[in-house]
């Protein structure tokens, strides 16, 4: 008995140890990153996915990671009509897919059509809504699918017919045309000054049609175009970027290698890059310390502040194109009918002015993020003059609160209104699981209690529940934050538009909406920027639907003497194909890597 147990145990152990394939290939550069969700460019949302897409795919144009300028991509040139609404792109005649197939304008047209289909329901469908007829087409197809699903006739033929009708509708109503293999014409509903920046976004990457067709079918049950999993697997995925997918194991590793068909591909330019999804933040640091990782691309370990403040050369704090803020609920009442004191802009301003942001970044987050009084990160967009915003001023804060009718009338340290009712406990909402946010919430509550004489009720909720509360307006002040998608102030300002899907605050101001609408109509770029700055001034100085705290920072861990090619400009627009380890073979001229 005893020996059998031991022998069986030992045997199982040996079998386990030998039972799987041996060592993985070692790449030149190994990156610890959050897990990649999808390599389907049209379905991407997450930053880590977009970062890989920038290596695998190339759009019509792209932004230069160092300067932010739009530079040529698959399109070698383009012309814009005088009214700013018609773009003609001239594609490189020699552009190739990684399997050698020629890359044509039709590849872009069908990719964009795919992005615009409600069948795919891509997060970034809206990027194409400025195109003439695009929004209407989306609604039309959604209605068509809905009618199909509710109708009686469900057959492969009927679904196919509906699909053909949708293609014909797209061709005739949406302003995307491919008159020949190397020309793409895009007509916009109205001029969009940052349209080229959008064209460089990964969601608008082309797709290799023959590959995708093999994995697509029209579902007779719903009438929808379905893409089966599989077309983005190594050996199947055909891409057009500087790198190609050599290997991908689910939540285990991804290996990128140079794409030999990429234009100007130079053997020494792009090196093999391995991406390892290490979820546990401390493990990622340990892996870096032990030399099995070269770049921790998002350092989130709880002890990161200690790392930063230890003065190490390999810990980098880089301001990102995003703003950390808290949202004020601007709706007149709470969902249960109670009056919402934050419906009054004076109360919002009072709370905003009572926050000592310098103290927050120095002693709470301890990362010394640049404090922010505006939503659009100042200096990040050429030609845009940020408004000043409100500064920390306790006296002014108390005066604002008093003007709104809230004063300490009975000297108990708490403010009351004229009827003698105490300021209701401020319901502060944030998601659990982020110690940084928890620290900020506690500090804010203390600042408001001590500075203004109000009680705060700090509530943390699990992600999905917090989101429900946010959507329903079931909070007084909630944690927010936003990363810009494209280099234009509207990527931040649209948040406060009446009815915007991300306007958690329920903020609505006719003057603000009018300023944004004016800016849309203006053809003079300088005047447009002035209008947008006026709009921002309205929300960060006067109406305060949001309380900006600081710029987001991204923390990297890499040895600057060894790893080259990391971009440090505000958008942190990293190109995996530019990474290289110093000491590995290099040749002159390789800095020309796109």
């Amino acid at each position: 008995m005893r020996w059998t147990a031991w022998i069986v145990g030992a045997l199982v152990l040996l079998l386990c140890v030998w039972g799987w394939s041996g060592g993985a290939r070692r790449a030149d550069v190994r990156v610890a990153s959050a897990d990649v969700f999808t390599l389907d460019p049209q379905r991407m949302t997450y930053m880590q996915d977009l970062r890989v897409a920038r290596a695998l795919f190339e759009g019509l144009c792209c932004s230069d990671p160092d300067t932010g300028d739009v530079v040529e991509g698959v399109a070698k040139s383009w012309t814009v009509s005088s009214d700013g609404r018609c773009y003609t792109f001239h594609l490189r005649p020699d552009a190739r897919w990684s399997n050698g197939d020629p890359l044509t304008a039709q590849d872009f047209k069908e990719a964009w059509r795919r992005l615009l289909l409600p069948d795919l329901a891509a997060d970034y469908s809206e990027l194409l809504f400025p195109v003439a007829g695009a929004r209407a087409f989306f609604a039309w197809r959604a209605a068509q699918l809905s009618a199909y699903a509710n109708g009686d006739l469900h057959s492969a033929q009927a679904a196919e017919d509906a699909w053909r009708e949708a293609i014909a509708r797209f061709d005739s109503t949406v302003g995307i045309e491919a008159p020949d293999a190397h020309t793409l014409v895009v007509r916009l509903e109205q001029p969009v000054p940052y349209w080229l920046d959008i064209c460089g976004f990964q969601s608008l990457s082309p797709i290799h049609r023959p590959t995708l067709e093999r994995f697509s079918r029209i579902d007779p049950e719903t009438g929808m175009l379905r893409t089966e999993p599989g077309w983005t697997k190594p050996g199947v995925l055909v891409c057009n970027g500087a790198m190609q997918l050599a290997d991908w194991k689910y939540k285990r590793s991804m290996l990128l290698e140079p794409n030999p068909m990429y234009r100007g591909a130079h053997p020494a330019q792009a090196r093999s890059v391995e991406i390892l999804p290490i979820e546990d933040a401390s493990t990622a640091v340990l892996a870096y310390e032990s030399g099995s990782i070269d770049w921790v691309s998002d350092l989130t370990a709880e002890f990161r502040a200690e790392l930063v403040n230890s003065g190490r050369r390999d810990v980098h704090v880089l301001p990102a194109f995003g703003t950390d803020f808290w949202s004020f609920n601007c709706r007149p009442t709470m969902p249960d009918g109670r009056p919402n004191p934050f419906a009054d802009a004076r109360v919002r301003r009072a709370f905003a002015r009572a926050v000592n942001k310098d103290a927050l970044v120095q002693s709470v987050t301890r990362l010394r993020e640049p404090v922010a009084a505006t939503l659009v990160p100042p200096g990040s967009i050429d030609g845009y003059e940020s408004p000043a915003g409100l500064s920390f001023d306790l006296a002014a804060a108390r005066a604002e609160l008093a003007a709104a009718g809230w004063k300490d009338r009975n000297a108990d340290g708490l403010v009351e209104n004229a009827a003698g009712e105490v300021f209701p406990p401020v319901e502060m909402l944030f998601m659990t699981g982020n110690p940084r946010v928890r620290g900020i919430a506690g500090a804010l509550a203390a600042m408001w209690r001590d500075g203004l004489g109000v009680q705060c009720d700090v509530r943390s909720k699990d992600g999905k529940f917090a989101k429900e509360d946010l959507r329903a307006g079931n909070f007084m002040i909630a944690r927010g934050g936003w990363y810009g998608d494209y280099l234009d102030p509207t990527t931040f300002l649209d948040l406060s538009r009446t009815g915007n899907g991300n306007n958690d605050r329920g903020f609505s101001d006719a003057r603000f909406d009018a300023l944004l609408a004016d800016a849309e109509r203006t053809t003079d770029p300088a005047q447009r920027m002035r209008l947008l700055a006026d709009a921002e001034r309205l929300i960060v100085e006067e109406q305060m639907p949001i309380l900006p705290l600081c710029r987001y920072v991204t923390l990297y861990m890499y040895d600057p003497d060894r790893l080259q090619g990391i971009v440090r400009t505000p958008r942190l627009d990293q190109r995996l194909q530019r990474l290289r380890m110093s000491g590995s073979a290099s040749s002159p001229g390789e800095d020309a890597a796109p």
């Binding site: 069948d119 329901a121 997060d123 194991k249 939540k251 340990l286 429900e468």
Partner: protein
């Protein structure tokens, strides 16, 4: 015996169907939808299309279609090209749930079986040391260690092993998967609580057995305490360990989220918890199905082993 096996196997689809329905209902109650991402939210029209895409607006037909595809009924009826299709993952549309399970299960099973093997060896030795001489210093030390093993959570032991053995001493790689060395620390971490539990079960079983008449008779006939224990007491003392091993093996094989996360191991446990957090309905249901089937089957195996070790057991099961 055959009747027992047959009855259990016939119960399997029923059990799985019930578990599937309950899991689905629980998943449905969680607010939010799997297509939702952190940060930005799409406009209302896109959000509506997202729910449509996976029929999240029609839970009834969603469950019916899922069950038909997962069970293979749709395949038999010719409505679906492949049997046992658990569908695409909702959060990771590039992967089917079948692929995810096929990739994650061997990893978790390797670590789990290895951990159980280590636990069995270490736990048995410790249990026998304690059980042979209750109250001795050997008993005290092994039982104290077992108590530590049961009470210290694996994210503590895991992190400790990681810092000490991997980061400082460089005896093993820090996290990841691919070589046998990668499996060593996760196995060790996972085995500790199991080893501790086995040690305690065996120790108390042995102490009990040593009091029985047949063991005392054996000793009276001149057998040393050690020989009497190993030849006559151990087999019976092992029964509680055996019944514990069934569910323990299932738990170990289906993956420990904590261990897999700490060591960055791409196992099923991590995929499952990520699925729950992201409300990845298809992935969670698929993993639950596999887990449930495994648990039922392993329990059956334990019952069979039981009857084999102790023929009296079979009589107790049969009359039903």
């Amino acid at each position: 015996m055959t009747a027992l096996i047959l009855r259990r196997l016939l119960q399997l689809p029923l059990v799985l169907g019930l578990i599937l329905t309950i899991t689905f209902a629980l998943l449905w109650i969680i607010p939010g939808n799997p297509m939702e991402n952190e940060g930005r939210r799409p406009s209302a029209e896109v959000a509506q299309a997202m729910r449509r895409q996976y029929q999240l607006d029609q839970p009834g037909s969603f469950l019916a279609q899922y069950a038909a595809r997962a069970s293979g009924i749709a395949w038999i009826a010719g409505a679906h090209p492949t049997p046992f299709d658990l569908g695409p993952s909702m959060r990771h549309p590039d992967w089917s749930v079948n692929e995810i399970i096929a990739a994650g299960f061997p990893v978790s099973a390797t670590i789990g079986l290895g951990a159980i093997a280590i636990a069995l060896v270490v736990g048995s030795i410790a249990g026998v040391i304690g059980g042979l001489r209750p109250g001795s210093w050997g008993d005290g030390v092994t039982q104290a260690l077992a108590l530590v093993g049961i009470s210290v959570p694996s994210f503590v032991t895991g992190s400790l092993l990681l810092v000490l053995l991997a980061a400082k001493l460089r005896l093993a790689p820090v996290g990841g998967w691919g070589t046998p060395a990668h499996a060593l620390l996760p196995m060790l971490t996972l085995s500790l609580p199991f080893a501790a539990y086995i040690a305690r079960l065996l120790r108390f079983g042995l102490v009990d057995q040593m009091q029985t008449h047949h063991v005392r008779t054996a000793m009276a006939k001149g057998l040393s305490r050690r020989d009497a224990a190993l030849r006559h007491a151990l087999k019976n003392a092992f029964l509680p360990v055996l019944s514990y091993l069934g569910p323990a093996t299932a738990i170990a094989m289906t993956g420990s989220f904590v261990v897999e996360k700490v060591f960055a191991v791409p196992g099923l446990g991590r995929h499952f918890v990520d699925g729950v957090l992201g409300k990845d309905i298809t992935l969670v249901m698929g993993v639950v199905l596999v887990y449930a089937a495994l648990l039922v089957l392993l329990n059956l195996v334990v019952d069979i082993l039981y009857a084999w070790i102790d023929p009296r057991i079979e009589m107790a099961v049969r009359p039903a």
